[in-house]
């Protein structure tokens, strides 16, 4: 069940309606049943896999709390292996098998593993990471093991964030699940406002841009460098609006229920350097890697050489997390390289800024930094979006040659795309540098605010793409 589907709207209205009327003691059960139904709307049988990992992690949590000594670590490892194992079989098995075959072939050996060609359970990487954060936190003693199996199951299955995050932490989500959720008009309106804005981002911007991006990227050889450059910039906005739009709907849905999920995007394209970018982009995943991989590897308190090595590992795994494909791995590595390079050259760049005199024009300096980071992020997106590495390199070459002519495709498509991007930039500029809140949607004047809801809904009806595909991050 996709968020941008009629089924979800009907499902959401029914769940919320019941949420308002059932007695508080049944709320947890209501949410758990709704979440199971939501998940089973994709491939029903896969709920069993999730059920098994939930049981393992639940038991591991209890044992980790109870037992002391070296066996404690063993239970953590068992839980992690169970989670990673499911991920490995469903997501990485075929990729590893294909690449082993190629590697053996290059040495003249014939070797093959049977192909599984399994359909990936939706959002597997997300709920696996969320489940792992629970056992790790219990192991670290920062989270009490959950006694109630239903509560723990809901922590993993909670439908607003089940299939594409934000990847929550147990300390933040579990206490909220067991709290009493009284009716709060303001909170509900805030949630619905966020859902509306999420739909706008997904239907009006992301899915519209996707039409141009797909057209250009599906036949890169026939496209000019300028066309591909525009398609790449469009993809940067597409993926941002697709994923942050999903996150807004997820956070808004949870808010209506009375649960605050963590923020996942914080206007990342206003970042002035790559460290800042990763603090603003897919925050729940970046912080997961920071807390459970980067810091345990030594974090910043190691030699420069090891620091670069740690960054390399984190970004390699981050790329691999996104998908079992070389394009994602290269995308991860490019981003790792950006971060390493920016750390290496930080003093030199400060010196250049002083010499050139940019220090005296902080706004111009800031603007140039934003454009520079955005351009490099776009170059990395080429690898994320291209169908394979060969095509990615072809696209990159063509963009760098910047040859024409520019093919805008369809006039309406281009106008709607630019309108969507323009409105997004306007809203984010206001949020970044002005008063917080979504432009007219948060206007203190009630009439302006309500009228802006209506206008936004009518804009979605008039120029939203209703036949667009699923959210990009659902595949991960």
């Amino acid at each position: 069940m996709l968020f941008n589907s009629i089924q979800f709207i009907i499902f959401f209205v029914i769940v919320i309606h019941f949420f308002f009327i059932v007695p508080p003691k049944y709320l947890l059960s209501l949410l758990l049943i709704s979440s199971c139904y939501f998940y089973m709307a994709f491939i029903p049988i896969y709920i069993l896999i999730l059920g098994v990992t939930i049981l393992i992690d639940y038991a591991a949590g209890l044992l980790l709390e109870k037992i002391q000594g070296p066996t404690r670590k063993l239970f953590l490892i068992v839980s992690i292996i169970a989670n990673i194992g499911v991920l490995a079989v469903f997501k990485y098995y075929d990729f590893i098998s294909e690449n082993l075959l190629l590697a053996f072939k290059s040495f003249g050996y014939e070797y093959s593993l049977p192909s599984l060609s399994l359909l990936l359970p939706v959002g597997l990487s997300f709920h696996t990471f969320q489940a792992m954060s629970y056992t790790i936190e219990v192991y670290r003693g920062r989270q009490k093991a959950e006694r109630n199996l239903g509560t723990y199951a809901l922590y993993v299955l909670f439908f607003p964030q089940l299939v594409a995050g934000p990847i929550e932490r147990p300390q933040h989500l579990i206490p909220q699940l067991v709290q009493n959720h009284s009716f709060d008009y303001r909170r509900i309106v805030e949630g619905l406002r966020l859902i509306l804005w999420g739909f706008f981002k997904k239907l009006v911007i992301a899915d519209r841009l996707a039409i141009y991006v797909n057209w250009a990227y599906n036949d890169p050889l026939s496209q000019s460098g300028i066309t591909l450059a525009v398609a790449t910039i469009f993809f940067a906005f597409q993926i941002y609006c697709d994923f942050s739009g999903y996150s807004d709907i997820a956070i808004g849905t949870a808010k209506v229920i009375g649960i605050n999920l963590m923020i996942n995007f914080n206007r990342p394209y206003f970042s002035k350097n790559f460290t800042e970018f990763w603090r603003r982009w897919h925050i729940s995943l970046s912080s997961w890697f920071r807390d459970y991989l980067y810091i345990p590897l030594g974090g910043n308190r190691v030699s420069m050489f090891r620091l670069y090595g740690n960054l390399f590992i984190v970004f390699l795994l981050s790329g691999f997390w996104h998908g079992a494909h070389w394009t994602f791995i290269v995308w991860g590595l490019i981003n790792g390289f950006y971060l390493m390079f920016s750390l290496m050259t930080s003093k030199l760049r400060q010196k250049v800024v002083r010499v050139v005199g940019l220090e005296q024009f902080p706004k111009t300096h800031q603007f140039l930094q934003i454009i520079f980071v955005f351009s490099l992020v776009c170059l990395a997106w080429i690898f994320f979006r291209a169908r394979n590495l060969t095509e990615a390199i072809t696209i990159l070459k063509k963009i760098l040659l910047f040859d024409g002519p520019f093919d805008y495709g369809n006039f309406s498509l281009m106008v709607f795309s630019l309108f969507g991007i323009g409105l997004l930039v306007l809203v984010e500029l206001k949020e970044e540098y002005g008063r917080k809140g979504l432009l007219f949607l948060s206007n203190p004047n009630g009439i302006v605010r309500k009228l802006s809801y209506v206008i936004l809904i009518v804009i979605i009806l008039l120029i939203g793409v209703f036949d667009g595909g699923q959210f990009i991050y659902f595949q991960f």
Binding site: I6, F20, F183, D184, Y185, R186, I188, F411, S412, V415, F416, K450, Y453, V454, I455, I457, V458, L461, L462, I463, G464, V465, F466, D467
Partner: protein, 320 residues
């Protein structure tokens, strides 16, 4: 103080929330109605553009020879040549990027009004490939859903929720606002030059002959195949002479495309003329006849239309 507390409680009640939501939805319905009816009015007033051609096909066309197909039909069949050879009026219903689900719906709408003598259906490679987007494109027919009950079952193939979505008055005109504006102005005057629905492509191909491996099978869509058969049956039921033709490609294919192969078999089963010109030696690899590897240019379409018109005349002879 007490009053203030009461009003605060009221503003935090479920009934107040439902009241606000109902009010908002009512305003949205009014805005949607106004936007939808305004767009409907201007949609059907368009004098140019592809939507006005679709309106012509569905609501006005009375020609005796009708050509159906995608961009290849649109650019390959010159109605003027058919008219001069066959002495029958002709119109090209071809629409860029639209395939059998769309053609079948337009045929149904046409047959609800008039009965042409000859129908030509241009079949392309990959015509029956399973692709949801070909059904999504049926949204081009949503403006006609209200007034043309005969096409509703086809439009509903788009998604099971289409009826529900059509409660919105502006939904049928989703994403059309700019083209409606263009169709109501002179915007298309110099761009949308067509001759009875046909637009010759005025450029020459410069790339050499390409051989494309077409041995790879793709998934065939049983719904599209059924619509193709229904198209044939509708023509036979109404005594229309149907010609199914696969027009020339510049590209050489290693194997016959599965859709063309299946189309030929179905045509044979229904005893309908099926002509495969996809690899015709006169056109195959001849740069001067093509605008791109899949589309004939003006010269190519003229020669090709002459050949098809003569063949139809030869086939029908004294019947005409």
């Amino acid at each position: 103080m007490k009053i203030h507390k009461m009003s605060k409680l009221k503003h935090n009640s479920i009934s107040y929330f439902y009241f606000q939501i109902t009010l908002l939805l009512a305003v949205v319905v009014i805005f949607d109605f106004i936007a939808g009816e305004t767009l409907r009015y201007f949609y059907f007033r368009q004098g140019s553009g592809e939507q006005s051609r679709t309106t012509y096909a569905i609501e006005k066309a009375t020609e005796e020879i009708i050509i159906f197909g995608s961009s290849r039909a649109y650019s390959h069949y010159n109605p003027a040549i058919f008219e001069s050879h066959l002495k029958l009026s002709s119109y090209n219903f071809g629409r860029i990027g639209y395939f059998i689900p769309y053609h079948y719906a337009v045929l149904k709408a046409l047959l609800a009004r008039v009965k042409p003598k000859i129908v030509i259906l241009d079949l392309t490679n990959n015509e029956f490939e399973k692709k949801q987007e070909d059904f999504e494109k049926l949204s081009a027919l949503l403006p006609y859903y209200k007034t043309h009950p005969e096409i509703r079952p086809v439009i509903e193939l788009k998604s099971p929720y289409e009826k529900l979505k059509l409660f919105s008055k502006s939904y049928p005109f989703n994403s059309l606002i700019l083209s409606i504006i263009a169709g109501n102005t002179d915007f298309h005057r110099d761009r949308d030059i067509h001759l009875k629905g046909h637009a010759p492509w005025r450029k020459n191909l410069e790339e050499p002959l390409k051989i494309v491996n077409t041995s790879k099978k793709y998934t065939l869509d049983p719904v599209k195949i059924e619509l193709f058969e229904s198209f044939i049956r509708e023509c036979q039921r109404t005594d229309i002479r149907l010609f199914i033709i696969c027009s020339p490609y510049f590209i050489k294919f290693t194997h016959k495309d599965p859709s063309v192969h299946l189309g030929e078999e179905i045509a044979r089963k229904h005893q309908v003329d099926f002509w495969d010109y996809s690899q015709n030696p006169l056109f195959l690899g001849t740069q001067s006849f093509f605008a791109d590897p899949r589309h004939l240019n003006e010269e190519g379409s003229r020669i090709y239309s002459e050949i098809i018109a003569k063949n139809i005349r030869g086939r029908l002879g004294s019947v005409l």
